[in-house]
């Protein structure tokens, strides 16, 4: 049990974060809090990707001769860069989402002068 906990700690963390974000999205009545929950949700997935790429004591993947390396680094030794690169894109997407949704929140605020969901729904009637 314990070594399961500590061995898989990173995964447990990401799932925990994910749930936190999910809870915030579903349960909070304030739209900004929902947005924050959304961000937490996204970052948790990014964390997950990072840790499937990561490796204790891994080096950068460089072929022989390149960048002063004298031998081909074996696949077991280097960190798999791909997930990290993917996450760069994912971060961009996340920033984009945040930007757009902040803009939308501003529109909502302009229109209803509040960001509390209940009040907004009340004013729609």
């Amino acid at each position: 049990m314990l070594e399961f906990l500590f061995g898989k700690l990173n995964y447990i963390t990401y799932i925990f974060l994910m749930m936190v974000g999910f809870y915030a999205m579903m349960a909070k009545r304030n739209l900004v809090k929902k947005l924050i929950g959304l961000n937490i949700f996204q970052w948790s997935i990014i964390l997950y990707f990072i840790c499937i790429g990561a490796k204790r004591g891994g080096t950068i993947p460089i072929v022989e001769g390149g960048h002063g390396a004298t031998h081909v680094i074996h696949a077991l030794q280097y960190v798999n860069p791909l997930p990290h690169v993917l996450m760069l894109t994912a971060i961009v997407v996340g920033v984009g989402t945040t930007g757009v949704s902040l803009a939308i929140l501003l529109m909502i605020y302009k229109k209803y002068k509040t960001l509390e969901e209940d009040e907004i729904l009340g004013r729609m009637k």
């Binding site: 739209l31 791909l82 894109t89 984009g96 757009v100 939308i104 229109k111 209803y112 729609m124």
Partner: protein, 503 residues
């Protein structure tokens, strides 16, 4: 550089992307040049899609490697029959909508043409990118490009548009995240992101829990994007309150492209042996489809707003598609894939009609149709075409896909599905005749306050030609696809149906 070296896979995606970034710059210089630029860009990618389609039909699947990196390392654009027809569909409808949108944007989004067309092209790029890419993660990126621009476009609408757009942001992002997570699991299990490559590796891993989890995550994510009941709640509000140009572009294509992704991943990445043999997922899909059909139909029946009614019809149509896949015999799957095309066409047609009515009467309630058919005869023709297609009256295209779905359901003995289809057909009949009555019988719905004007007195003032022409083209397409369904099915859709479905 002859026809077959022409770089269609690149131009189809990157020309609109480029123009989309050109527009703001040129916009500062001269507003009027932007619209022609947009039209050119979309036409270019329409032509490229036609080029790709012919190439696929003659030589089989087309591959294009970004930066010359071979898969599985590099990003690959992979276009087979299914993508080819989807690409043609998306570009064709976008072209029509661009022509259609000019007037309605001038009317509904005055002074906002530049950002609108910028986002429009971005969305277009996203959709077409989703269609052509052969890489799981790249698909995610294009999906998010499309979704982000959709959020922004919808938020520009009237009424509660902003709020529903935010709802859409939340759910859409959750869906995308699920998809991303599933891709992560797949990558963890196989170390590859290229669809063809994955299809090669996966069969040895069908037992593994990681793959099953990945499958479920991906499917749920896509299901949110394509508004499969019960994950559809974001759809009706979002599409109803969006500007009519936006809704007539997003409503037909976004969900259909979602359905395309669903089918692509189900059939091209995973194989029937997996989702039928290992998971028995088809039964679940079937029942989700049935519920979607019934729910969508019943909700549509209870609407007083034309666009919202259409939105619920779309939910039902998605039910058709997923149910057809769930029936899981070649006939039904053929029908489901064919229905993606048809539904895109007819939804475009009807949302365009909504746009025209909106243009004339400033509203899109069913009551706004009052006497519309006497006032706007040409719009009426377009509307009738769309309505007949949704009801499924021969020889409109809707009848033929419905025929295959029903036949497949009967062959598989899935009577519940057959019944659901027939019931939904009845419901759609009721829906559309509600509208037709409003439009046609001017005496019946007169309240005492209005002065009695007879059919002769009503002068016809129809929507502008810029809106009517695309409408007529799409209405003609509805009938042509119906009449020439055999070539389409034989030449294209047959190839998209996977082996191993039995039947």
């Amino acid at each position: 550089m002859n026809f077959y070296q022409l770089p269609f896979p690149i131009t189809i995606v990157f020309v609109p992307l480029l123009v989309c970034f050109l527009i703001p710059v040129f916009g500062w210089w001269k507003r009027t040049v932007c619209y022609p630029m947009v039209v050119t860009a979309v036409s270019i990618s329409f032509i490229s899609s036609l080029g790709i389609a012919t190439r696929v039909l003659q030589q089989g699947p087309v591959q294009y490697f970004m930066g010359g990196w071979q898969p599985p390392w590099g990003i690959e654009f992979y276009i087979d029959h299914l993508n080819a027809v989807m690409a043609v569909l998306v570009t064709f409808i976008s072209l029509l909508v661009v022509i259609f949108s000019k007037k309605s944007v001038e009317k509904e989004l005055p002074e906002k043409e530049l950002p609108f067309y910028c986002l429009f092209l971005l969305l277009f790029t996203g959709l077409i990118g989703i269609v052509v890419t052969g890489d799981m993660f790249n698909l995610y990126v294009f999906l998010e490009i499309a979704s982000l621009s959709t959020y922004a476009l919808i938020a520009t609408g009237e009424g509660r548009a902003a709020y529903s757009a935010f709802k859409y942001v939340i759910l859409g992002t959750v869906g995308a995240c699920f998809y991303l997570l599933g891709v992560g699991y797949l990558y963890m299990a196989t170390g590859s992101l290229n669809m063809a490559d994955l299809a090669g590796i996966l069969p040895s891993l069908y037992g593994s829990k990681v793959v099953i989890t990945a499958f479920i995550f991906i499917m749920v994510g896509v299901a949110i994007k394509m508004a499969l009941f019960p994950l559809h709640i974001w759809l009706p509000d979002a599409y109803t309150y969006a500007p009519s140009a936006v809704s007539s572009f997003v409503a037909p294509l976004m969900t259909k492209v979602g359905a395309y992704v669903f089918i692509r991943i189900l059939f091209k990445v995973f194989k029937p042996e997996f989702f039928m043999g290992v998971l028995h997922a088809t039964d679940i899909m079937l029942w989700f489809g049935i519920f979607a059909i019934l729910f969508g139909g019943i909700m549509a029946l209870s609407q007083t707003d034309f666009k919202k009614m259409l939105c619920y019809i779309i939910v039902a149509e998605i039910g058709y598609i997923i149910g057809g896949i769930g029936v899981a015999n070649p006939t039904a799957v053929k029908g489901a894939i064919f229905h993606i095309l048809n539904d895109a066409v007819m939804a475009t047609c009807l949302f365009m009609v909504a746009g025209m009515i909106m243009y004339k009467t400033k509203g899109h309630g069913i009551s706004d149709f009052k006497a519309a058919f006497v006032k706007m005869p040409y719009t009426t023709v377009i509307f009738i075409a769309g309505a007949l297609a949704v009801i499924g009256v021969p020889p409109t295209c809707g009848f033929f896909s419905k025929w295959y779905l029903l036949l497949g359901g009967i062959e598989a003995g899935q009577w519940a599905f057959v019944a659901a289809l027939l019931i939904c057909t009845l419901i759609t009949i009721a829906l559309f005749f509600k509208v037709i009555d409003q439009g046609l019988y001017i005496h019946a719905f007169k309240d005492a306050s209005e002065q009695m004007e007879t059919h002769q007195e009503i002068r016809s003032d129809d929507a502008p030609l810029m809106m009517l022409i695309p409408g007529f083209i799409i209405a003609a397409a509805i009938f042509l696809i119906g009449i020439f369904n055999q070539p389409i099915l034989r030449g294209i859709i047959e190839f998209a149906v996977p082996k191993g479905l039995g039947g």
